[in-house]
Structure formats: structure tokens, C-alpha cells
């Protein structure tokens, strides 16, 4: 009996996670809130979440609401922090430029089309990042081409034909709608499954 009581009293072994000084997250512009996942991430590192959200939302006032911004937060031992807000994520920029909302779902699927001019402009935006300072523009463009490949965006040298692009985007939209419908059906079937 006594042993049972002792077992009940015994606390769970708490494994203390030692967090590093650097926190890398993507936060949507003007939409930082104390809700998960951001709130707990900051809270575990001992930061004042409300103040952080306020500062972040103020700093990102010049961005369109909801733009995903890679953020690097360096937490100091005295619980102060350095906030580094980078330019919007490469995938977001590429998807916006291509006019698509969804990357490729299967191998060898082409979801959008871009020209090297688009990439050059995006590279110029990305080169403002702290991490990409002094990196040649050519190298940034090469990185962008790699990202395009993972997204399923076709990069071409010549200018896009507007008529052809419109046809492509319409066809693509139908395909994406079908994909999303399929996914929703699968999800519904999973919810209804009893076994």
C-alpha cells in the first residue's frame, strides 16, 4: 500500500530541453500571436510573447498581411533578443510570381512557368537578406532555379506567351481543384471510418 502511494507521489521524470540561442521560424507578417506554434516556442525560451508579437507586428507593418517571413531570433541569456526579419520566403515569392497556390504533388508535374527575368527580380529582392549579402547574384539565381525545380515550376529563357500561359493556368486550376477535392474526400472518408 505504501509502495503504491509512493508510486503515485513519484513525479514524472522531466527532461529539461536545452534550447539553443537561435530560433528560426517563419512568421506571417502582422499576424504574430501567442497561439501555437509561435507562443510556446518563444515561451520555452523565456521571452515575453506579448511584447514580441507587438514588436514583430509593428516591424512588419510595411508588408502585406499574411506574407510568410523567415525570422531569426537570437535569445540572449538575460532574456532579451535580437530580431532579424528576412525577406519573404523564396517559395512564396516564386508561387506569387507564377500565379499559383500549390506546388507539385507528383514527380515530373509542371505547376507553373517563369522566365529568367522573374528570377532575376526575385534574386534582387533576396539579396537584401543578411545571409545573402556578398553572395553573387548568379549564385542566388542558381539557388532559385533549384527551388523552382522542387516546386515544379518550369523556368524558361524566352518571354512567356500570355495566351498560352492563360490556357495553361486554366488547365492547371482545374487539375488543382480536382486534387483538392480528392484530398477533401479522403479526409472525410477517414473521419467517417469507424474501424
Amino acid at each position: 500500500m505504501a509502495s503504491k502511494g509512493a508510486a503515485r507521489v513519484r513525479k514524472k521524470e522531466i527532461v529539461k530541453v536545452v534550447h539553443g540561442a537561435l530560433l528560426r521560424t517563419n512568421i506571417k507578417a502582422q499576424m504574430a500571436s501567442a497561439a501555437p506554434p509561435l507562443g510556446p516556442q518563444l515561451g520555452q525560451r523565456g521571452l515575453n510573447v506579448a511584447n514580441f508579437c507587438k514588436e514583430f507586428n509593428k516591424e512588419t507593418g510595411h508588408f502585406k498581411q499574411g506574407v510568410p517571413l523567415p525570422t531569426r531570433i537570437t535569445v540572449k541569456p538575460d532574456r532579451t533578443y535580437d530580431l532579424e526579419i528576412c525577406t519573404p520566403t523564396t517559395t512564396w515569392l516564386l508561387k506569387q510570381a507564377a500565379g499559383i497556390g500549390r506546388g507539385k504533388a507528383s514527380k515530373d508535374e509542371i505547376v507553373g512557368k517563369l522566365t529568367v527575368k522573374h528570377l532575376y527580380e526575385i534574386a534582387k529582392i533576396k539579396s537584401r537578406d543578411k545571409a545573402l549579402q556578398h553572395v553573387p547574384l548568379e549564385q542566388i539565381c542558381r539557388m532559385l532555379i533549384k527551388t523552382c525545380r522542387t516546386l515544379g515550376i518550369d523556368v524558361q529563357y524566352h518571354d512567356l506567351d500570355p495566351v498560352e500561359l492563360k490556357e495553361f493556368l486554366v488547365a492547371r486550376k482545374e487539375k488543382v481543384d480536382a486534387q483538392l477535392k480528392d484530398l477533401a474526400d479522403k479526409k472525410a472518408a477517414k473521419m467517417l471510418r469507424t474501424t
Binding site: 537561435l22 545571409a131 545573402l132 549579402q133 556578398h134 553572395v135 553573387p136
Partner: protein, 239 residues
């Protein structure tokens, strides 16, 4: 017959316990006998003893072979080095460092016109193969990286930058096809400009030329006076 002889041995209780339950080691002697009796009969295996040196030789022989990808990479890097016309190269010891620190340091070095590259010693040896740089193979031990620069005065900036970073240590430098050891490189780095050295050399050479002309001139200048004195002494003797 076999069944009868095994019967006392097979009397091992079969317990259905979790596989995570630690089995007693060594196993009970009954269990060991049981397992020995039920061991499948396999053809005898012949254990070959290979001398350790032979294994090592095979291993090193294999490690020296280059795959197509490695050859292509080494060709690519060699072509790039030739195309970019690098004049200074420093082979450095490269210690482990967090990726983020390395990335920022690379960018910092690039801002000083120094290119940081680390391909592994196997590739580097292939790049340096059949070039004057092949004599640098002796320093390619462990983890190495190379710093490249287009300007000869970058020796100074390479030393300045590597002194700031504790995870990179230059071992030897190469400037215009000439190997410069670290002592000499530090001496060169002390100079305000390498133009000083050139001026000094020109001055030394100029001094030599001037000395030669002066010494030749003195003979020609002295010759008439000598002849005059000789004639005058001859005339006095005749009188």
C-alpha cells in the same frame, strides 16, 4: 533415440514475455544444450586469415580510385580556377564549425575578394595532379580547405582574416606558381605594399649597373693622364 535423449533437456518452460524483457546472459546451461542440439547442420565454413597489411593495401587501393563524378568535379574545379585567374592560394586546416557560422564567414571572405572552397582532399589531390601544385599534397591531411584570391596583395588580407577565425589555420600559401611558407608570408604581410619590394629590387639592380659604368669610366678617365705621365717620363729620360 534422439528424442529420448533430448527429453530431459527440452523441458524448458516456454514463457510468453515481451521481447523487451532482458534475457539472462549467459543462458541457462539447459537452454544452451537445447540450442546446441537443435542447431541446424551447415557445411563447415573455412575461416580465411588475411594479414592486416593486405586489407589495408586493398582499402587504400580502392580509396585511390576515382569515380566518374569525382573526376568530373575535379575537372570542373580546375577549369574554374584557371578561368577565374586566381593568383594566390592558401591551403588551410579546416576545423569543424557550425554551418551558419561557416556561411557568414564565407560571405565575409568574399567581401574581401577571397574565395573559400572545401572539396575534400581526394578531389584537391586530383585537381593539383600534374601541376606544380602537386607538391602541396603533403599538407593535405585531415580536413582541409583552400582560400583563393585574384590579387597578389591578398596574402595580407588572407592572413588578417584567418587570424580572426579560430577554425581555419593557413598551412602554406602559393603565389604565382611559387610556394610561400607561412613565415615568409607573414614577412610579406608586414610590408605596406608589394610595390615596395619591386622598387627595392629595381633600386638594387640600378645600383649594380651604375657601379659598372663608374668603374669602366674611371679606367678611361685615368688612361690619358697615365699616358701623359708615361710620355713625360720618357722625354725626361731622353734629355
Amino acid at each position: 533415440m534422439l528424442n529420448q535423449s533430448l527429453r530431459p533437456l527440452v523441458n524448458v518452460q516456454v514463457r510468453s514475455v515481451s521481447s523487451k524483457y532482458p534475457r539472462p546472459t549467459p543462458r541457462h546451461f539447459k537452454r544452451r544444450l537445447f540450442e546446441a542440439a537443435l542447431k541446424p547442420e551447415l557445411p563447415p565454413t573455412v575461416n580465411m586469415c588475411i594479414p592486416p597489411g593486405l586489407i589495408k593495401r586493398e582499402h587504400t587501393g580502392k580509396s585511390k580510385e576515382y569515380s566518374d563524378v569525382e573526376l568530373a568535379l575535379s575537372n570542373l574545379v580546375r577549369d574554374w580556377m584557371v578561368r577565374e585567374e586566381f593568383r594566390v592560394m592558401a591551403v588551410c586546416q579546416f576545423l569543424p564549425v557550425p554551418g551558419r557560422t561557416l556561411w557568414f564567414a564565407k560571405n565575409q571572405l568574399r567581401s574581401k575578394n577571397i574565395e573559400f572552397r572545401s572539396y575534400g582532399n581526394k578531389i584537391l589531390k586530383k585537381i593539383f595532379d600534374k601541376t606544380p601544385m602537386s607538391s602541396l599534397n603533403t599538407v593535405l591531411v585531415g580536413n582541409n580547405a583552400i582560400l583563393l584570391a585574384k590579387d597578389i596583395s591578398a596574402i595580407k588580407s588572407i592572413l588578417q582574416e584567418t587570424d580572426k577565425l579560430n577554425w581555419i589555420e593557413p598551412l602554406v600559401m602559393m603565389a604565382d606558381g611559387r610556394i610561400v611558407d607561412m613565415v615568409d608570408a607573414r614577412e610579406l604581410a608586414k610590408l605596406s605594399s608589394l610595390e615596395d619590394l619591386r622598387a627595392h629590387t629595381v633600386q638594387l639592380l640600378g645600383q649594380q649597373v651604375a657601379q659598372v659604368t663608374i668603374s669602366l669610366d674611371t679606367v678611361t678617365r685615368h688612361l690619358p693622364s697615365l699616358l701623359d705621365s708615361h710620355i713625360s717620363t720618357n722625354q725626361e729620360a731622353k734629355k
